[in-house]
Symmetry: D3
Subunit: 238 residues, 6 copies
């Protein structure tokens, strides 16, 4: 029995609310249960300097947690003067995941920055971020299309992410904080709408895992991501 | 006529929503129109080192803006590695304002940190922050009282803040961004529930102002703060 | 009775000594009693990047304290690697105050930086800085005029600053350190030679103040600033 | 055909040279072909502060690249003033990998820091680092045993790492730089001597990969790690 | 002929003015011609942490230049966030020079920090700093003696510094900025009152120098330092 | 008798191994006994910005120590976020020393950066660095010549460095760590192949030294540098 009482293959209640930031070209407040992340997309009219003249654009991401999004207050990274290794690792992951489904040539010489700011954390902030970031990105590109700034083929596919863990010997989907802190293995899967794997990050916190466990976790993740992509489709059709 | 169509002495729609952060000892999502600030209170069991052994506690504040809370995306302060002068000025103001109505001896050797994070900005983020921060602080102290950690006299009074500006020669209350960027003078008033002035910050952006204008602005501010304190009372009685 | 034995409306001995820095385009060593600030003006041939091509110039200020200008040695900000919130607040105030009396279009695409470095501190370093900075700025513009780099209307007015405080219930002018650390309210006024108010920063350190006290403090400040402007006139006519 | 002419399942020439640092408690110069990493182990007599009194020790890692270890000179991180996200990601991975095979209770209240400094880079610096770091750690623990500072059961297993990639549709083992920069997918596997998986990091650089490809990559990695562990055994028996 | 018209072996006008900083335990405004440095001594009641319990004290120095002490305004190190290599080199030199004549055991577990802040620069700021720092240190120790905090033997000797350079083939003493920027060799000598050499830093800016030139420069320096020590004696007897 | 058993005028075993870094335009692993420094030369196609358009190039150096190159592990400068004063002092010395023998006009608008990274330290890292850096620089210029990027007269002379110290009253050459930490005086000499002095840095750690001792140290250094230059000649003829 999971602490959350959920079935092993059950996601938390997931919602994707669009249009939540007055100024941004795209935005999404994503909730995976008590994990809430505000994702905004900001368009810049030129790419980073190393892409100038290449005809290609760029999509990048930044990630942050409000100091009291967590159980104990964390020090504010702006005050400590640097972003932690964890923060950098996550924002690099979000950026890579989004670029995997964007045609940077069709985007043209622009840059879209997705900011993922965790308002409240209860496990799985990086997977919620990727899932919500895609919606913010989609709306930003739609904003550009409606102004004839890009053609139709910028976004090639959905991308979403979910965590799976080995919890007391059983693979379980979408861990919340209580589950995550006890799991033997914690793995994050990023996959596209057509089932391609974009990123796997699996870490044994306690004892190592084996190939059968990896396969079982992958199966759970695939199903979870099918559901998340369905929710993204619903959200953008709204 | 103001860009916002409001009467010269009209506040924007102000709401104070409590209990919005699962982990915090107190929290308030304050909205002054399109300016939205999430205020959380975090309790620490010991005061800053320079107060150890003094029998006194401390209340402090930190302030931040999400990168796309504004019309153009701002650089993330955690990424630039330092807080701007403006950020530091505002968080020092919030902290001083709150301490003006807290009995630090009755608080005892603890520290309460109020984080004010701007989710969306449309002018007046510092005055909204002070007004919402007081509610988060109040709830934090209530949380402590319910655990017998403090006695009844920690918070001595309300404190709230509002901006007033000279806009095309007329004093107007609670400027939004469009008004603020055109105002000749921008003044922020912090006052208590009993009408005492805690802080005045008045700056002539264009031409200097005179004593009559100062008096007119103070009058507007007093009325505005009476209303804000009323809203605080309503919020905490809810 | 004030610790300084001065009458409530008496300034400290104020001196403004020009031409104290061999290399600078303008300079002034300002003394408000034992508070000594060295102000230098440095001319750059181009404005900050965000004003290039605008036809306008800029005036900015930086502020610092020598480590042992104070009773206890402070850590050197160059060694700690950042300027404190207080430092940034003060240098922003000085810059705003000066710009309030400069015609940036007549200045043209140049930048003048006023450095205010506190050699010895005894309260009121920011008000002494504003008052002395104006003299350094004046001499810098005179230097430019004598080289036909600007026309006659760059500086539109004097600007000076003074502090007023509520000390044991009485408003007193130009607080020294001993008075400042005991005052219930500390307010800084920046005003022009023609009596316009450029900036008011009033903070209740202990109990809040009321409108009558604000008015009394303003009256004292106005008289003080009339005297300071008189001293500026004397200095530049010398 | 791979650029390196190697068979798809062939490692580069791997060497593990012990005792290369006069001062360190353990050291290993690991070479995976032209990738050379100097790994040193440094023992401290106390654990990090958050483990004081817990009876447990800690193993951590730091990673760096000499500025001209790469084709183009990189800026020195000590001069830029911060470690890149990539650096932090890698050193966190090395630390986690080593801790997966260390009994921190048997280590006792000590800390071992493994520094992995890349002298020359040609792809796979993180996998070489993990593999060499284990040897340096082993020698450090041996050094402690010979001084009766620890008992026999500190290191529970080997740990080694290798990269696998999808190169022109075929899974290939241990990519060098030329291969890595063209691979569609780049995956790093960290495994123990008994075949447990400690960490998987798989990233699709170009098109997403599928489950069959993941399985094929895992098979290659398992065989590669069996060889690397064999080389570790040889090295420590020398 | 030197640009300064001085004889090859002539110092600039040197003055050492004591008691120039109200708060400091010792202070000296040293002028070597147009080079003006304010030196203050600050006493702390405990040594740096690595000397606690050793019975020994410490003397250290910090160095800074006001932004417009130089011909062109330099960026303020507090604003750039770090001290330059030159700054650190100079403050290390001043500290070493002073410690060479202090008995740290007789000082006892205290720390004296000498701040040398350049108000105006015209070459030779480091040699002026060492020479003036000794006077500030002397007065700080005298302050301690008068309070029975130390015995008589803390300061064992004078220490002073002077520059010598090869200017158009001739060795000249105490270079000003115009001479320094053209000199082929620039050497700084730190010597005690009894003629011992504490530090030599000689650098060929253009062509290398030879042993005969080194000897000639040393001779000039020795004479210059005899004069500087004489001026120190006069100053402290005043 | 020296701790190292060497004669007073004997160098440690010195080796200069070229071609040790696959990617660099020039490289040298220099060993002075147990002090090992990896020197690499990196060519950039343009000079620093302040030399653009001048027709001149630049040679600069950076220095670092691996954290466990020393007896106790030092904190990694990339992690602390700044280079120490010592690091900056040394890299400035290396750069100045090399520029003393390079014709920057003949080099043309390019920049060569020499990185000196200490793999293992046992005293004299700066003198080993200068000596090895020259070899890396020589090979970089040879690489340029073979591509017709420069003419024949870029490097005008050899440059090498050695330390000398007063150890128990006797001058001794090329101190190792054990000797250095006990020496009364530590002096570093940088000289050219034709015997010119480029830099002298002499510091009395304990009692001051006199002119006779300086002369004796210089004599030892000259002989040591003759030998080091001979070794450089051998190395580049290989």
């Amino acid at each position: 029995m999971r602490p959350s009482k959920r079935a092993a293959d059950a996601l938390r209640a997931v919602t994707l609310e669009r249009g939540v930031a007055k100024h941004a070209e795209g935005s999404c407040l994503v909730k995976f249960g008590d994990t809430h992340v505000l994702c905004t997309a900001s368009l810049e009219d030129k790419p980073p300097s190393w892409l100038r003249g290449s005809g290609k654009g760029w999509v990048t991401a930044e990630y942050g947690m409000l100091p009291r999004s967590t159980g104990d207050r964390m020090r504010r990274e702006a005050a400590t003067g640097k972003q932690s290794g964890r923060t950098q690792e996550i924002q690099r992951l979000i950026g890579r995941s989004l670029r995997a489904v964007v045609d940077l040539v069709h985007l043209g010489e622009k840059q879209i920055t997705i900011d993922c700011d965790v308002l409240q954390a209860d496990g799985g902030t990086r997977t919620a971020s990727v899932t919500g970031a895609w919606v913010a990105l989609y709306d930003c590109v739609a904003w550009m299309k409606s102004r004839d700034m890009v053609g139709p083929k910028v976004i090639r596919d959905h991308v979403a992410a979910v965590s799976v863990g080995m919890y007391r010997g059983t693979p379980v989907l979408d861990l919340d904080y209580a589950e995550d802190s006890e799991a033997e293995t914690d793995a994050n899967f990023v996959m596209t709408g057509t089932g391609g794997i974009v990123e796997i990050q699996g870490t044994a916190e306690g004892k190592p895992f084996n190939e059968a466990e990896l396969t079982a976790m992958l199966t759970l993740a695939k199903n979870g991501i099918v559901d998340l992509v369905e929710l993204q489709k619903l959200a953008i059709s709204g």
